[in-house]
Symmetry: D3
């Protein structure tokens, strides 16, 4: 433990994913948890399949 | 809140996904929850990777 | 019930997935749960998006 | 299919949960999916364990 | 890897949970995956919060 | 977005949870994501229900 499941929009990419893995792991290491015990899984979801306020993010946040 | 994670078979598509986002959001709005607070994430899973009764849906439900 | 969400590295493939569906279902049938009630969903995650010990598995486990 | 995992704050309660189960199921039935195939799981999470904008909801939304 | 998230009804208990952990792990070991790499998390959900076919399991399956 | 689901052993507690919420949120803010868009949910799981290497953590890691 811990297991961390991260959900982001598709297009997040490998560089930011690598950074998120590294830095979320540090959050737990700073609490005294051994580094090797931390697993982080990053799930990229198409904006068309992510709804906020009843609308797909692909429509609501066209320009992001 | 709330966060809603939906799992459907691959091929569900953007139109049904949009409808699901809109209508699941309404379910919570009807309970007095503010629309902007509802997040719905739709995950499409290949039928080969979805097992029911010990068999992949790609075999068990070939004709759906 | 039960619902089982399995997360594996991309490349796991349909044959191993089929085996996992069949055998995890058996685990519950052996406990007296009806076969048709067991759902198993297998999610394949790119190794670049799966972090162990602060590093993507694509770097940490290059040769697996 | 589908499987729907809902996350709400603790205190949501059985009545609203029952309503959410009934009405989310209807969303899929209206798309032509058989009623018996819809599973909805409602997870109640303590507000202290739900962070928005970097703060627990128990602090950020004290009066809700 | 792998990570396995299991959802069962509340009341499943520690003995069956232990059995599920042991036997699901074996499913992966039989595929050549190292035992120490398998993590299984069992989530017990109140029957009132688990909907099947639009009804809470606490009503639909009163006698199970 | 993003949504972050964290799974830890029961007993993690409110203080560490608060710290995790604050610091995981910072990980995304440092990548240019607006703070208010980050949701972090922390799920505490009994050690008896968390299996590593085929054994419940309550047995395998008795002294942690």
């Amino acid at each position: 433990m811990p297991i961390v499941q991260v959900y982001v929009w598709r297009g997040f990419g490998e560089d930011k994913t690598k950074s998120v893995i590294e830095n979320i792991t540090k959050v737990f290491v700073d609490l005294g948890i051994p580094e090797h015990a931390v697993e982080v899984v990053v799930n990229e979801i198409p904006k068309s399949h992510w709804g906020v306020g009843g609308q797909p993010a692909s429509e609501k946040f066209k320009d992001i």
